[in-house]
Amino acid sequence: MNALDYSFAATAVMLGASVLLAVYRLVRGPSVLDRVVGLSTVSVLLVSFIALQVAVRGDSSYVGVMVTIALLGFVATLTAARFAERRAHDRD
């Protein structure tokens, strides 16, 4: 193992820990919006994970997957946020 392999391993461990923490926020909330923040973080972290894959393999054919996940994360987060907003208005 050389320095590059160690850096891949360190990156994977730190990103993995981040995903766990983000999922904690996603599950614990306490409000819908906290979950939304957690969700958007998870999606960015997933994209970072695939970028790590690109680095490990030296192969950029994963970019389509990255864009797809980024797009899904964006739309999901925005929808959830708008939904929360509508419920806030209904309550008034």
Partner: protein, 196 residues
């Protein structure tokens, strides 16, 4: 004749967006052969028509020097605020306080206002809460704010970002507008100070 011209102008106005979609298509395919470009153009135009996207009357200029300044400022602030927030993450985060300030904007172009309000979420500890387009006032949440003394700094940051966006992307008329409002505000502030 007029109707044909109108339709032509409409298409021309949408061309930049379709071209941008074509470029994204080519980048995603990873090749720029004529076939890919034509297919990308067709798909882009098709989506644009099918989605009935609104036509924005884009009257923007692009000034590379100011755009570079803006990009440097945003990248630097992004990095600085990340480091700053990382510090507070470990140093008693429950004691960090923020503030919501109202900053009157000096531009009245909707597009520039939208850019400023988006750009603010990228710079040091600030984030748009509400944009009052009619009143031209932006409400920005800033963090960390240690006390009243930090509020003017947040205001100054917001105004600086606004100026950079206007100078990088505003049309000549937008800039003239911006400077006129700036002078008016400056004069009003100076007058207020003299009265006191």
């Amino acid at each position: 004749m007029n109707a044909v011209n109108g339709a032509g102008m409409r298409l021309l106005g949408r061309l930049p967006m379709v071209l941008w979609l074509t470029v994204m298509w080519a980048v995603l395919w990873g090749d720029a052969s004529p076939g890919t470009l034509i297919a990308g153009f067709a798909v882009g135009a098709g989506c644009y028509v099918a989605a009935r996207l609104p036509h924005l009357p884009v009257r923007l200029r692009f000034r590379p020097l100011w755009a570079v300044r803006l990009a440097v400022r945003i990248l630097w602030d992004l990095l600085a605020s990340s480091v700053q927030m990382a510090y507070f993450t470990f140093d008693r985060p429950h004691r960090v306080r923020g503030a919501i300030v109202a900053v009157p904007l000096r531009t009245d172009s909707d597009l520039l206002m939208a850019m400023v309000s988006g750009g603010l979420s990228l710079v040091t500890g600030s984030q748009t809460i509400e944009l009052d387009r009619e009143g031209g006032v932006i409400y920005v949440h800033g963090i960390p704010i240690r006390g009243e003394g930090d509020v003017p700094r947040l205001r100054r940051d917001v105004r600086r970002i606004e100026e950079l966006f206007v100078r990088a992307f505003g049309s000549t008329a937008d800039i003239a507008d911006f400077e006129a409002t700036e002078h008016a505000m400056h004069a009003a502030r100076a007058a207020g100070r003299e009265e006191r």
